[in-house]
């Protein structure tokens, strides 16, 4: 008993310790997030929607979702939703549910653009007909069944509505949606006099002009014992249940791109990137997958077995199954079901939707040496020559924010880097490359040409009142280009031409940091959700994809710069589904401790599984000073990261690999692991 108390006190102590680094209360927990809190309280079977007017149109299986029993009150609020099921080659079913545009909703809900590759649309199978079945155990209700691929069918049960994929031979289910009746779709409404839609969090007000608009539903994976994916979290590879029997109390896995200072090494909390793609796997060796193309804040519960014991909903019990619960603040239902059946098939199916990883340049697969900051040209030259002196291979030298003139990207600090071209040429003469940082925040300084240009053209993201949004980041007062707009992306891409980026040479590549976007004085260190993008799209609707569009624009800039003949290399911190087409990512500001070394493995594996094959963690840990053994072990592990970079905070001691002596480095790392790479 006493021991327990001591252990408990110790835990409290640990918890209070962590508050100092990770500012937990600065970020919204599920119960501080109305849509998440509400959704988590919903009971299985709460959904009363049924599929009506089921038919084949334009090669899709379509239907209207309407409430089963007409409501007395709020009748005007519940309009039919449109549902469509499309089928694509290689066993992919796409389910979309949105408000009916013909019913004149207050606003068009945001559908994430430029993520699904154009080739995918050419793979669509035009459905000709659907068969109607009475399926055992469905109380005689009807289901519409369409062909999906050899051996698989897509099924829409009408009442209550449910969508799933099954194996044709034995009617075995693979992936299903709304089997537990948790589906909910908050439709946009016109505000009534007495309603208050504003949300407040730590002194920030979200005006929420369109009111609540969240979506939630349950997804089940059959023949599954584990689920994986949905990066980015510092957590185990197989996702642990977040709700249900045996789970004390846990946040759902959050997908909300945030710049989290000193993130924890074990937490479902959302960090820099989001890929709402989940893969399941069972002891049978079979896998399936589910992807929700939605860039708003998402929260995902992995439900422990028996979570629905009281719900009384009978599910086929002969198969092992993992149930999950997906909640999003806005957007539409645009989901992809992948039949597998093997893990590799699932990933192949996923990348046929979002694109294959870009082929990296050979040099970028080598070792990268970074630090915040290599302070001047002399430092660069010295570091470079020390690698030669110690015969340690490396390929790329990086410059962090201090190389610029006052954090104005595309510029150089004239004192510290008076001859950037010559510096790059010296490196290039040895076949080495340089990477400089370019972040999305643009210093609001009238004498800075980039700011002047962007503000005159009206290229910045707007605040809720329609003025250029003014946030705080490294340079102080800053604004952010609206990367959702293709015209602005193209404008941005031009900035990387050798003429525009003065001091750049063909051996210079780019690092995109802070593109969550990080806003030091914004709610949760990011942009307010009611900020406005192209076409009145609210930031809440595309938040998780902002960094993706920025990464895309930068990579396109490098492609343009080289007349399409030089493969870009762009490292990004924020990412979204599809980021693999534009370059590498890393796991952000980790810490120099063994726990972060450990968690980098499942983090990088998860990224690989979800298409982001080119990824790594900062070797040595960004914050703090690694003991020599930790650093050596990290180099040994890092050699196996697809993206292999040593990086460190400016307050840390210098830790270039030769500083720890011949024995430590050469014997343990250089002689064995680097040889694998070079």
């Amino acid at each position: 008993m006493k021991m327990k108390q001591v252990a408990f006190l110790f835990l409290i102590f640990l918890a209070s310790q962590t508050v100092h680094s990770w500012k937990k209360d600065e970020f919204r927990a599920c119960d501080q997030t109305p849509f998440c809190k509400r959704a988590r309280f919903r009971k299985p079977g709460a959904c009363t929607l049924i599929a009506h007017d089921v038919s084949i149109s334009d090669g899709d299986l379509t239907a209207k979702l309407i409430p089963k029993a007409p409501h007395d009150q709020d009748q005007d609020q519940i309009k039919p939703l449109t549902l469509s099921v499309s089928v694509y080659q290689d066993g992919i079913m796409r389910l979309k549910i949105d408000e009916d545009p013909s019913l004149d909703p207050p606003k068009k809900r945001f559908q994430v653009a430029d993520v699904v590759i154009s080739e995918f649309e050419t793979k669509k199978l035009w459905l000709q007909s659907a068969s109607t079945e009475k399926i055992n155990g469905d109380d005689g209700g009807l289901s519409s069944v369409v062909y999906l691929s050899d051996g698989y069918e897509a099924v829409l049960r009408h009442d209550p509505f449910e969508v799933y994929v099954r194996e044709k031979a034995d009617n075995r289910r693979v992936v299903s949606l709304n089997s537990h009746g948790l589906f909910d779709f908050e439709q946009l409404r016109v505000k009534k006099e007495d309603e208050d839609w504003e949300e407040r969090f730590r002194g920030h007000t979200d005006t929420r002009p369109y009111g609540p608009q969240s979506i939630s539903f349950d997804v089940s994976f059959y023949g599954s014992d584990f689920v994986y994916g949905i990066p980015e979290h510092a957590s185990s590879f197989a996702l642990k249940p977040t709700r249900g029997p045996g789970v004390e109390e846990s946040e759902p896995f959050r997908l909300f791109n945030l710049d989290v200072f000193e993130y924890l090494h074990e937490s479902p909390f959302g960090i820099y990137g989001s890929i709402p793609f989940m893969v399941s796997h069972g002891k049978s060796g079979q896998s399936s997958g589910f992807f929700w193309l939605n860039a708003a804040e998402m929260q995902i519960d992995v439900l422990a077995k028996g979570w629905d014991a009281e719900g009384g909903i009978l599910m086929p019990t002969e198969q092992s199954r993992i149930d999950t619960f997906w909640m999003s603040e806005a957007g539409i239902v645009d989901t992809f079901f992948f039949v597998g059946p093997g893990p590799k098939d699932v990933v192949k199916q996923y990348v046929s939707v979002t694109g294959l990883p870009a082929m990296p340049q050979l040099f970028s697969t080598g070792y990268h040496q970074c630090r915040w900051n290599y302070r001047d040209e002399e430092d660069v030259e010295n570091v470079d020559s020390k690698f030669d002196e110690h015969d340690i291979p490396y390929d790329v030298l990086w410059l962090d924010i201090e190389h610029t003139n006052g954090k104005r990207y595309f510029t150089w600090d004239k004192m510290l880097f008076p001859h950037p071209e010559e510096m790059q040429r010296k490196l290039a003469a040895k076949g080495r490359h340089m990477v400089t940082i370019v972040d999305p925040h643009i210093k609001r300084d009238e004498s800075f040409h980039l700011h002047k240009d962007a503000s005159q053209r009206g290229y910045y993201v707007k605040d809720a009142t329609g003025k250029d949004y003014d946030g705080w980041c490294w340079p102080g007062s800053s604004s952010y280009p609206d990367m959702l707009n293709p015209e602005i992306r193209s404008w941005w891409a031009e900035k990387f031409s050798y003429d525009n980026y003065v001091g750049s040479t063909p051996s210079l590549y780019i690092w995109n940091d802070m593109n969550e976007p990080s806003v030091f004085n914004g709610p949760e260190v990011t942009m307010p959700r009611d900020a406005l993008h192209l076409g009145g799209v609210e930031h809440r609707e595309l938040h998780n994809a902002y960094g993706y569009y920025f990464h895309m624009a930068t990579a396109e800039g490098l492609l343009k710069r080289g007349d399409g003949k030089d493969r870009p290399f762009v490292l990004s911190r924020a990412f979204f589904a599809g980021s693999q087409r534009y370059g590498a990512v890393w796991t952000g500001d980790n810490s120099a401790d063994w726990d972060h070394l450990r968690v980098s493995v499942p983090m990088v594996l998860t990224l690989g599984l979800t298409g982001m094959t080119f990824s790594g963690a900062d070797v040595g840990g960004f914050f703090g000073n690694p003991e020599p053994e930790l650093l050596v072990r990290w180099y040994q592990l890092g050699a196996y990261y697809p993206f292999f970079r040593g990086h460190a905070h400016h307050d840390t001691k210098r830790r270039e690999p030769w500083l720890f002596g011949y024995d430590i480095f050469n014997v343990h790392v250089n002689s064995t692991l680097f040889i694998l790479m070079y």
Binding site: H20, G203, E389, G431, W472, F520, V525, H649, H650
Partner: protein
Amino acid sequence: TSACPLGKFYCKNIGHAPSFLYSSRVNDGICGMICSRADCCDGSDEYDGKVKCPFTCHEAGKVAMESLKRKIEVYQEGVILRKVEIGLAKRAIARDKAELSGLKNEREVVEKVVHQLEGQVRKLEQEPQEKDDKMREARNEKVENEESGPDKNVDSQTEPMKASDVEKQGQAGESPSDQNEKDEHESSEGLSREELGRLVASRWTGKKSGEQVEETDPVKNDQEEGGPDAGYEESVADNAGRSSTAQYKIGVQDLKNSSDIATPSGKSWLDKIQETAQNFLQSVNLFSIPVANLDANKIRKEYNHYTAKLSDLESRISSLTEKLKFDFGKQNEFYLFYGRCFELKQDKYVYKVCPFRNATQEDGSSETQLG
């Protein structure tokens, strides 16, 4: 590359020094450049025909020769400088040692004087005890009033007093990080948007939020910076009178200036002290009957004067002794570096090295101690 013994490749480099090369540099497609130790200047490491390297050993040899010559010149200059320093150090050490022994003599004398005066003072204090208790009480009260005075002033905030500064300093010294933590927590909601931005940025940059605020508000900045600093100096000065250790610290800090502190000008000065003191004591002793108040004050004044003198001597002696304890090199060639500082400006940083003391990096307002 497998042909290299021990993983090293030998280049003859005729016209320059032969060298061994890491085998990773052989046929790597990169030619050696002048001054680069990384490749052979004769191009012999690139033998597979991928690239043809020019023969640069003559140029490399010339460059190497010149840099060697330059190095020799620097060394020669250094040797001359060192000799000068050794000579100067010898004289300085002799002077300091002489001063030390002089000071020790002086201390002996002054100690005696103080001892005698102490006896007198004690006598004086016993007498009035019988005579007038009330007066002593009154005096005590007065002292108490004086002590509580500054506190009252703090309350009314008429003028900044030592006590308040000391208090401030004490707080700041206890746990600045705790305070920051607290500040950050309590006040982040009340911050302006700019202050919040700076506060969050400061987590990464490591700058204290206080500094950040300073940047926004130059007026506030002055107050915040000036306040504790002034307080620090004053409180040290205050402490100095009470404890000898504090005094010693100041002695070290002031070493630069203290070398020209009035040094004894020989024996005559010492004799004079002895004389005047003795004369004075004798004149007092003449009256064995209760001494007049005037004389009592005089005795106290003299006593205070000589104890102050004694503590000055002590501090000077101990600082000299400390100084002489250091290792100034084989021939004491670094003796004159003691108490001196050297500054080097590197862009925005000023590096200051004070041998036998400390080294700092100054960046405008902030200063970092270097190990």
